[in-house]
Point group: D2
Chain length 390, copies 4
C-alpha cells in the first residue's frame, strides 16, 4: 500500500537506503527530511553507523525493519541488490573517507547513488566511480545542495543566457566562525571528524566549504578552472587540517576569480556569497539571504529579484509565494525531487532529457575533487600556480 504524505502525483514511492545518519550526525537527518519532502521516497534500509548497535538503534527509531539494517556498506549493497523489493537508490551521508567505498559498492550492485560532497579524496577514485555509473547506466548525484536553491537557478539562467555579457571576474566566499573554538576537544562530532585527516581527508576547510564555492560558481557560470594558486592555513588553534583558505583562480576562458573560505571567521554563520561580474552586468547571491538575487545591468539600478515572483524565469522553482522564505531543507528537497523524478522516469523506461538530469552529478563531484587537490598541491608549494587535474 502507498502511504500518503507531502505528495506529488506519484503512483509509488521510491524506496531508498541510507549510509550514515546515525546518532550525532547532522546531515543524515537533513537528507531524510529532504527526501521525504515531496513524498517521492521511502526510507526502508540503512547502515547508519560504523557501529551496528548504533545502526540498529537509529533504524528502530525510524521504524525500519531489522532485516534491512546492515553492518557495513558491502553487506547492505549485496543484500539490497538481492531482494526483489530492494532499494532503488542509496543516499551516502557518512563522513568523507567512506564515500568511495560506499558509492562503489552500490554502483557495482546496480543501485543508483546520491552522495554527499566532497565526493572522494582522489581524482582517480572519482573518475572510476563516474565510469562505473556510466557502465552500469546508473544515476549518480552528488549533493551540492545549494544548486537546489531557486535563486541559484535564476542566477544560472541569467548568466548562461548572456544577460550579463562575458564573465570577467568572480568573487566567492564561504565564511563560518564555528571552528574559532576547539569544539573537537569537546564531543562535538561535526568538529571532530572534520578536523581529523583520517576521516575528512587532505583538507577540512577548502574541502568542506571551499568546494561549495567551487561548485556554486561552476553551476552558475559553467566556467572551468584552468589553474589556481591557493594558500591553506591552519590558524588560531593547533590542528592538522586547514581552517582558512584563499585561492586565486584563472578560468579556461581567461576570466579570473578569488575565493576565500574560512571556519574561524567569528560572526559568520554560513556566509556563502557568490558574485559574478560580466561585461554587461553582474549578479550577487548571498546564501544566508538566499531567497533574493541581486542583479545589476550596466547603467541601471540594482534589482532585487525575490523568489516566487512572476517576473522570474521558469528556471526558478516556486513552491510557495514570495516573502515566505524557503531555506536549507527546501534546497536539498529540490535536488531530491529532481533526482527522484528522473529516477522514476528511468525506471519507467522513459528517455531522460538534459532537463531531467539537471542535478549535480559525478562530473560535478570530480570537478570538486580536482579543485581540492589542486588547492592542497598549490598550498604545499607556497601558493604557486597549479593546473587543475594534474
Amino acid at each position: 500500500m502507498i502511504e500518503a504524505s507531502g505528495g506529488n502525483l506519484l503512483q509509488a514511492k521510491l524506496s531508498y537506503g541510507m549510509i550514515g545518519g546515525g546518532p550525532g550526525s547532522f546531515i543524515g537527518d537533513v537528507h531524510r527530511k529532504a527526501a521525504a519532502f515531496d513524498g517521492n521516497c521511502m526510507l526502508v534500509a540503512g547502515c547508519f553507523s560504523n557501529s551496528y548497535e548504533n545502526t540498529l538503534q537509529t533504524g528502530q527509531s525510524l521504524g525500519i525493519s531489522e532485516a534491512r539494517l546492515s553492518e557495513n556498506v558491502y553487506m547492505m549493497a549485496h543484500a539490497e541488490a538481492a531482494r526483489p523489493d530492494g532499494i532503488k537508490f542509496v543516499s551516502i551521508t557518512s563522513p568523507n573517507y567512506n564515500h568511495y567505498d560506499a558509492a562503489k559498492a552500490f554502483l557495482e550492485h546496480g543501485i543508483h547513488v546520491v552522495c554527499e560532497k566532497p565526493l572522494v579524496f582522489e581524482i582517480a577514485q572519482a573518475e572510476e566511480l563516474i565510469a562505473l555509473a556510466k557502465a552500469k547506466d546508473l544515476l549518480f548525484c552528488v549533493m551540492y545542495s545549494y544548486s537546489g536553491s531557486p535563486m541559484m537557478r535564476e542566477a544560472r539562467e541569467i548568466v548562461r543566457s548572456g544577460k550579463i555579457g562575458t564573465v570577467l571576474t568572480v568573487v566567492g566566499e564561504y565564511a563560518q566562525g564555528w571552528l574559532a573554538q576547539a569544539l573537537e576537544k569537546s564531543d562535538q562530532k561535526q568538529a571532530s571528524w572534520r578536523t581529523d585527516p583520517s576521516i575528512a581527508g587532505i583538507s577540512n576547510c577548502i574541502g568542506d566549504i571551499g568546494s561549495h564555492i567551487e561548485h556554486t560558481v561552476s553551476f552558475i557560470t559553467g566556467l572551468k578552472i584552468k589553474r589556481l594558486c591557493a594558500r591553506l592555513e591552519t590558524i588560531g588553534l593547533d590542528r592538522l587540517l586547514d581552517t582558512n583558505a584563499s585561492v586565486l583562480l584563472e578560468y579556461e576562458n581567461g576570466a579570473s576569480g578569488n575565493y576565500w573560505a574560512s571556519q574561524i571567521a567569528i560572526g559568520c554563520d554560513n556566509r556563502l556569497v557568490v558574485r559574478i561580474y560580466g561585461t554587461k552586468g553582474a549578479i550577487e547571491w548571498y546564501q544566508e539571504d538566499g531567497n533574493y538575487l541581486k542583479v545589476t545591468y550596466l547603467d541601471q539600478p540594482t534589482q532585487i529579484f525575490s523568489r516566487g515572483n512572476g517576473y522570474l524565469s521558469p528556471a526558478a522553482a516556486n513552491r510557495i509565494p514570495s516573502g515566505h522564505p524557503e531555506g536549507y531543507y527546501e534546497a536539498f528537497a529540490n535536488v531530491y525531487n529532481q533526482f527522484t523524478l528522473a529516477l522514476n522516469k528511468k525506471i519507467a523506461g522513459q528517455t531522460l532529457t538534459a532537463a531531467d538530469l539537471d542535478f549535480p552529478d559525478g562530473d560535478a563531484g570530480l570537478d570538486g575533487v580536482k579543485f581540492i587537490n589542486a588547492c592542497v598541491e598549490s598550498s604545499k608549494q607556497d601558493a604557486s600556480w597549479v593546473h587543475l587535474g594534474l
Copy 2:
C-alpha cells in the same frame, strides 16, 4: 507496519485526516508537508474539496484509500469516529467559511482538531468550539504558523522574562502587494475566495493578514487588547472586502499599538514586521528575514540574534546550524511537531504540561475573531474606538 521517514523517536505515526487542500489550494499542501516533516503523522483520510470528484482525485494522487475519502465534513467525521483505526486528528485547511462547521463536526465526534486561522466568523462560534473541545477533552490547535518560528520563541522569552522592561508601545505591519492587481478576475483561486465575502467572511485583509499581526504581538507579549479604532479600506480596485487596514490599539495594561496591514503595497511580499518597545529595551522581528531577531537594550548597540547560535535561550528551537535558513515550512512543522508530540502524550495517558501545550489554541483563535470583529465594527463607525469582545 511503520514507515520510516523524517524521523523522531516515535513508536507509531499518528494518522490524521484533512479538510481542504484539493486542486488549486495552497495551504493544504503546506500542512501536509509540515505534518510529515518530523515523521510524526500519516495522512489517511480526507475531504479535500466541496467537489467529491476533486476529493477523489486528490486522494488518489496522495495514495489514500477511497474508503477514507468523504463527500462532506459530517460524513467524514462520522465515518472516522466509527472506525477502530479512525484518524486521531483532523487538519482543517479549507477557506474560512467552512471552519466552524468542520471543527464542530470533528470535535463533536471526539476527534482532535488543527484549524487554519482565522478560526471562525463569529465570537459566539469560537466560544462554542472552545467549550466543546474542553467538554470533550480534545486538543484544539489554531494554526498561527509564525508562532512556530524559533526567533518568535526567542522574542517571547525575552519580552516575557522582563528583559526589555514594561512594554510601552507596539508597531506591527503585514504588507503584501499581490492584490494590487485584479487577480480574482483571472482564475487565481487564492484571490477569488479571499475577496468574496461569502467565503472569506466579513473581512479580507484584516482577517487574513491583520490577524497574524494580532497573534504575533499577543504571542510575544501576552498583552490583551482593550479597545481599538480601525479603518478598513478597499482601495485601488473595486472589491467588496478590505485590502488595506490601519488600526490604533490600546492594550489592557495601558500600552499602545499601531497595526497596518495591506494587500496592495506593491513591492511587499509577505512583510510581517513586529516591533515591541519597552522601558528597558526593544525587539524587532521581520518575518521575511525571520532567522534573525534585533534586540536592543538601553544605551547598548543593537544585537542581531541569529537562529541556531549557542547564545540563544532554549526557547529557540534549533533544527539546523545558524546561517542555514529555516523558513515557512519549518515554522508550520514546528507547530505540528509540538501538537503531535502533545497528542501522543495525551493518547498515551500522560498528563500534559503547559510546555506540552505550547501551540496556538482555541483561545488564540477567539482573540483573533474578537480582533477582526472589533476592526470591522470600528471601521463602520468611521474609525471610532471599539472595545474588544463587545
Copy 3:
C-alpha cells in the same frame, strides 16, 4: 575682499545673521556649516542666545565683530536694517517659542528669513508671517532639511511624474529612542527644551519629528491632508508633552495614511521612513540610509536607486559620486544653496522661477503648524477625526 572657500562661481558672498546657535545648541552649528558649505554665505551678525554674555562668547569664537552682536532679535533686526552693509538674510535656529517673534521682526525690517521648523505655534501666526513676507517681497524659507536630500528629490520626481500611478496609501514613521531616558533631568539642553511646553509649545514628539513625516510626504506627493485622528502619548516617564504619537490620515484626494512618531523607541536613532504606495508602483525612503531609494513597479523587481548614478533624473542633485555617502549636513547645505542662489538672483533683480524657489517655504511651514494643531486637537478628543486648518 572676498574670501575663498568651498566655492561656487559667486561674485560676492551673502552676509547673513543668526538667531540661536549659542553654547549647548545643536542645530545652530549645523546651519552655520551648511550655509558655509558652498561658499555662498558669510556669517557676520548674531543674537545667539537669550543671554547677551553667551552671544558675545559665541560671536567672539566665530570671529564676529562685537558691533554685530545683539541683545535681542528686535535690536538686531533694527540695527542690521539700518546698516548699508546689513545682513541679507537671517537664519532662525533658536527653539520653537522664539520663531514667531524673530521671523516677524526681520521680515518687518525687510530682511529675508530662513527659519527652523516647526515654524510657529499658531496657524494665525504662520499666516501672518506668510502675508508679511509676501507684502514685503521677501524670501521665506522653512528649514525642512530632508527636502535637501537628492533621493527625496528623485522620489518627488518619480511620484509627481505619475510613474507609480495614483497614490493610494502612505506609511510614514520617525522613530527615535533618545528620550527613553529622562535626559532632561541631567543638563542635556536638547531634552530640556523639547520637553518644556513653554519653549517647545503644544507638542514635543509630533511637533519635532512628526512634522518631518508630514513635510516629507507632502514634499514627495503633493498630497494635502483633509482630516486626521491622532493619539499623542506621554509614555514611560512623567512629562508634560507627548513622546509617542500615532496618526491616521485622509488626504484630499481620498488616499489614506498612517504616521507613527516616537522618541522612546529604544534602538532607533533617527529612523525617518516614508513609503508611498500607488496603483502602478511604490517607493520607500529610509533617511538613515538616505543615499538610496527603493522603487518597485508592478510585477517588477524592486530597484535600488543609488545617489550619484547616471540613471537618476536631473532632479537628484549630485555633489559626489555614488557610494560616497552624503548625509545630514549636505541635505541642509542643499537647501541653503538653493535659497542663497535664489536670493542672489533676487538681489540682482532677476525674475525667480519656480525652479529657483524650490525650497520649503512659508506655506510648507503653515502646513506643518496645521498638522501639529490638528493632531493635538484630535488627541484631546480621544483620537476623533479633526479636519485640518480648523
Copy 4:
C-alpha cells in the same frame, strides 16, 4: 579681520594654498569644502591647473587675489614662502604624477603639506619627502580620508585594545563599477587620467583604490605587510593599466590577508569593505554604510555599533547625533580638523602629542607606495610572492 563661518574656537584661520582642483577636477572641491568645514582654514593661494588660464579662472571664481595665483608649483612655493602672510600649508590635490614635485617644492620652502594619495610613484621619492619634512620640522599629511570616519576610529580602538584578540586573517575589498565602460573615450577627466600611465603611474586600480584597502587595514590593525602575491588585470576593455586586482598577503605577525579591488564590478559604487577576524572577535566595516560597525565577540550576537551613540569609545568623533548620517565630506573634514588643530598648536609653539598627530602621515604614504610597487612587481612575476620594500 577674521571671518565667521563653521566655527570652532579659533583666534585666526590658517591660510592655505591648493595644487590642483581646477576645472573638471573632483577631489579639489572636496578638499576645499572639507578644509572649510570647521572654519579653521582659509584658501588664499593656488595653482589649480597646468594651464595658468584655468588657474586664473578657478582662482577668480573662488575670490582669490590674482597675486596669489601661480603658474606652477615651484613659483608658488617660492612666492608664498617669501610673503609675510604666506600660506601656512598647501593641499596637493592634483593627479598622482605631480605629487612628488609639488610636495618637494613646498617642503623645501618650509611649508607644511597635505597630499592626496597615493603619495608618489617610487619608494625612494616617498622616503626623500619624509626625510625632508623631518629635516624641516614640517607636518606632512597624506589624505587617506577614510581614516577620518568615526567608526574607523572605533574599529581601531577595538582592535588595538585587544578586544578581538590576536588578528588572524583580514579580508578587504574595494569594488567600483564605473570603468566597466570606456569613459576615458568621452571627456570624463577622472577616467582619462586614471587610465593613463603618464599621469597615474604604474598602476590604476591597485594604486587608486587598492591603496585604500591597504591603509584602512593598516590604520585599524597596525599590521605591517611582510610579503604579498598580486595579480593585476586589465580586463573587459583595452587599457594600459590594471582595473582589477587580487592580492594575497602575509603580515609580519603571521596573519594572512586577501584584498580585492576592482573598477569593473558593475553594481558596485565605492564598496570599500574591511573585515578583521581575531581569536576572540571580529569587526566588519562597510564604507558605503560607514556610520555603522559590526562587532562580534566569540559566542555572542553580532552588535551593530551606530555612530554618535553613548556606548562608543571617545575615539569615535561625534559631530551629530546617531542616525543623522555623516559621510564622505565629513571624513575629509575630520582629517583636516585634526591636521589644522595640530598645525595651530605647532605654530603656537606647543609640543605636539601622538594624539595631536593622529592623522595619516608620510609613513602611511610610504607604506602605500611600497604596497603598490610590490603588487606591480608580483604581478609581473605571475603573482609570485614579493617582499615589501624590496
